[in-house]
């Protein structure tokens, strides 16, 4: 197979035939095949790849992809009330500008000298999250909230040296699935076995009696989410963490950070490890790709050595003139060496971390408080309007943040039917949670954020009413 002479490719400077020839000559071969002899013939693919003919011109390529993407209906054209772990919040223009800077988009693993800016942005992210969470130790985020929760559970298991964890029923099913994968809980023996703790179907609050019944000296941690997956604000945090601590277990809480301008941070009610998603902090949804899971904890030697994710620390320069950053390389503690499975880390969500940092810097204390208040008022307004529709019930107590459950049993319609009809009204209705929480009947999870206006919410109410008639 000889070198094929073709015109140069814009992305490949050395594809110019003369350059290629010159380089081959300098290497001392006449054909690239001579360099490929390291791969035995029997392992070679002796044909061309069967892929579509290329759209070499950038204008053709762009047109082609845009046409495919135009088949999508977006949450801009449709009025969307979908949430359940990924939400449509406003992304400030400054966040986009920074997240698009080629310096940040194309950097990777440079050290504190050549990539000082990146490292500083990471440290600033950790610092601002530290203020939001009122915790001293925050790590660089991992892939998403599910993985963060999974890693947090594994951390707790190592710290407590126990292999059972209690998880509230009202956590996100997606996240639970990921946690189960990290715990290998379905295997016998499980790495970490999982028991679920019930909730009060009327109030949505965690069932403390069930927690007390299930917790034991084998429990490494209790994990619950606040607000819960169903939107409810859990007010028994103090009791839950006390029960955990009385039994020598860790208290892990999963939070939506955009609620922390108005809701008490979990550290206030005894949480040891906190996790959550940075998605609401200035990340576009990207069809579920704009997510990142943070982990934070109290400052303490037993925690530092258990983080699977990197901890960026500030460091002074030797000559005392400034500061730089680096990964905290802590002394490992004894129990760390015995763990059966050390966790892994690697490339996670650096660019999103920087975007979230910019977002928090823009918001400031007033902004994060105000957006929480706006979200509460708007979501409650929506719930009020929906509950005024005959045969629609809004479940649980009045204490919810951003998301609430609307039930359609009385209307004798499934959520699937309702949502399909709402699409004709150019509305994405709430996520169908019927199969996830069968005890709640035909129910949907509606999310209302800062981007929804009063007109939007009135329109939702009108359309729902029309659909249910």
């Amino acid at each position: 197979m000889s070198d094929v002479m073709r015109s140069a490719h814009p992305y490949i400077p050395n594809s110019v035939p003369e350059t290629r020839e010159g380089m081959l000559k300098e290497i001392g071969v006449s054909d690239v095949e001579e360099l490929l002899t390291v791969i035995p013939q029997r392992l070679r693919l002796n044909r061309s790849l069967n892929l579509p003919r290329p759209l070499a011109a950038e204008s053709d390529l762009r047109k082609h992809v845009e046409e495919i993407l135009l088949k999508n209906g977006t949450c801009k054209e449709y009025l969307s009330f979908l949430g359940a772990g990924c939400w449509q919040h406003y992304v400030p223009a400054v966040v986009d500008e920074i997240a698009h800077r080629a310096e940040f988009v194309t950097a990777y693993a440079g050290n504190t000298y050549s990539d000082l800016g990146k490292w500083q942005a990471f440290f600033e992210f950790q610092s601002m999250m530290g203020e939001l969470l009122e915790m001293d130790m925050v790590s660089l985020p991992t892939f998403d909230w599910g993985c963060a929760a999974g890693f947090a559970v594994r951390m707790a298991s190592r710290i407590a040296d126990r292999d059972e964890v209690l998880i509230s029923w009202t956590v996100s099913p997606e996240r639970l699935a990921v946690i189960k994968n990290f715990c290998h809980s379905e295997y016998v023996p499980a790495h970490i076995s999982i028991k679920q703790v019930g909730y009060d179907v009327k109030t949505g609050l965690l069932d403390l009696e069930d927690l007390k019944a299930k917790i034991s000296s084998k429990t490494a941690a209790i994990y619950f989410e606040n607000p819960s997956y169903l939107g409810l604000i859990e007010s028994q945090g103090e009791e839950i963490s006390k029960i955990a601590h009385d039994n020598g277990a860790e208290c892990i809480v999963g939070v939506d950070p955009i609620s922390l301008g108005v809701l008490a941070p979990p550290a206030d009610y005894g949480a040891d490890i906190v996790c959550g998603d940075i998605q609401p902090l200035g990340l576009h949804m990207n069809y579920g790709g704009g997510v990142g899971g943070f982990i934070a904890s109290r400052d303490g030697a037993e925690y530092v050595s258990e983080y699977p994710t990197h901890l960026v620390s500030i460091a002074g320069t030797e000559d005392g003139t400034g500061f730089g950053f680096g990964f905290c390389t802590h002394e490992r503690t004894l129990y760390a060496v015995r763990e059966k499975g050390k966790d892994f880390t690697g490339t996670t969500v650096g660019l999103w971390t920087i975007a979230a940092a910019v977002y928090l810097a823009l918001m400031g204390p007033a902004g994060i408080r105000e957006i929480g208040e706006t979200i509460i008022q708007k979501s409650h307004y929506a719930a009020r309007r929906l509950s005024e529709i005959p045969r629609v019930r809004v479940l649980f107590s009045p204490y919810f943040f951003k998301e609430f459950v609307a039930n359609f049993d009385d209307a004798k319609k499934t959520v699937r039917e309702v949502d399909r009809r709402l699409i004709d009204h150019k509305i994405f209705g709430g996520k169908d949670v019927t199969s996830e929480f069968p005890e709640l009947g035909n129910s949907a999870l509606y999310a209302v954020t800062d981007i929804h206006t009063r007109d939007d919410l009135d329109r939702l109410a009108r359309s729902l009413e029309a659909v249910l008639r």
């Binding site: 990964f327 390389t329 002394e331 060496v337 059966k340 880390t345």
Partner: protein, 370 residues
């Protein structure tokens, strides 16, 4: 606070080598060497090492012994040393080396740099044990101990790195070669002890992966891997060395660092056993041998653990040999195979080939034994 460096030069080290003699221990040999016109090499070696430290001249305090035990070398490199102790020029001996080391320990030096051979290393070990870190500038004929740098310049550079806080410490073997056997061209080595040395691998940050476990942590991990897999009906013969003895430490049993201990069901059965005792203990029983890599050359049998003789090895069986080593110890072999020299060619052959080694908790490696 200024760091303190101690410098000890053994003036007669290395004299034997150039005239074909093996070592300068003993007055007889020394006299013979001088007769043959031998010149001491320790001086030039020490100066070569010390030059690497010129950049630190103003920021460290240098303690040394008089005349050619360090004072001359220090002054030649334009250091302003604090000279302690007293000696009789031209008539120095092991006692002087030991006194020097002890004195420097009392003065609180942060690092001891010495020029000499295995004998000097042994003297220093006897004087200070592992209570302060040392670096050996190779200047003797017998350089089997792991406390020596490859060459004088490297010794100096490592000293700089350590004083700058760029490297941590680990342990290295002090080997004692049987003099008589050595002069008759037979190598018979004994593990004498362990000195603390700067670990010649910079504390680095690797952005792409998690943090790298330290030596100490790795040894603990290895110990637990072995312990968690121990079977009650087996005797465990634990060879000398810090990696193997980490097992005893984790089980909180007393042990002999340089000898062979035996345990069963995590309880002690024998301490510092010799071949006869080992044979006695394993007669008719199931047993496993746990050995590590001794010395920089990669010996797992034949250097420092001869109590685990060919007879013992035969009785236990190749499949019951557990080799333990940390990844950095293996890396230090630079790809060279592990070596065996039991004295019995058949047993040596049996041991050759690819073997599994325990390198961490749930981690093992396959490496060649030659």
């Amino acid at each position: 606070m200024r760091k303190k460096l101690g410098l000890i030069v053994n003036p007669i080290a290395g004299m034997g080598g150039s005239v074909g003699l093996k070592g300068t221990d003993g007055e007889e040999i020394l006299r013979k060497a001088r007769q043959l016109g031998a010149a001491p090499t320790a001086h030039t070696r020490a100066v070569e090492a010390l030059r690497e430290l010129s950049a630190l001249k103003g920021s460290i305090e240098l303690f040394t012994y008089p005349h050619d035990m360090g004072e001359e070398e220090a002054k030649e490199c334009s250091f302003n040393p604090v000279v302690i102790g007293s000696i009789q020029r031209g008539k120095t001996s092991a006692a002087d080396t030991k006194n020097a080391a002890r004195e420097m320990l009392t003065r609180g030096v942060d690092l001891l740099l010495f020029a000499g051979g295995d004998g000097t290393a042994r003297d220093i070990y006897e004087a200070v044990g592992d209570r302060l870190p040392v670096i050996g500038v190779p200047a003797g004929v017998k350089i089997h101990s792991g406390v020596f740098a490859i060459n004088p310049r490297t010794a100096g550079q490592l000293a700089v790195s350590y004083l700058r806080g760029e490297v941590a410490t680990s342990e290295a073997e002090v080997m004692d070669i049987d003099e008589e056997a050595f002069r008759q061209n037979r190598i018979s080595a004994r593990l004498y002890g362990y000195l603390k040395i700067p670990h010649d691998e910079q504390l680095v940050q690797n952005v792409k992966v998690g943090s790298v476990p330290g030596e100490h942590e790795s040894m603990q991990a290895i110990a637990w891997e072995v312990i968690d897999n121990m079977q009650d009906d087996y005797l465990y013969i634990i060879g000398p060395g810090t990696t193997t003895k980490a097992i005893m430490k984790e089980l909180q049993l007393s042990y002999t660092l340089l000898g062979v201990d035996v345990i069963q069901q995590k309880q002690p059965v024998a301490l510092d056993a010799n071949e006869a005792r080992l044979l006695e203990l394993i007669e008719g029983k199931k047993a496993k041998i746990i050995v590590s890599v001794i010395g920089g050359q990669g010996y797992i049998f034949g250097r420092g653990n001869q109590q685990i003789s060919p007879r013992v090895i035969r009785k236990v069986g190749k499949d019951n040999i557990i080799i333990v080593a940390t990844e950095s110890k293996i890396a230090a072999l630079k790809g060279m195979p592990l070596l065996v020299d039991t004295g019995d060619r058949e047993v040596d052959e049996m041991l050759k080939g690819y073997s599994k080694m325990v390198t961490g908790y749930g981690r093992s490696a396959v490496y060649r034994v030659a």
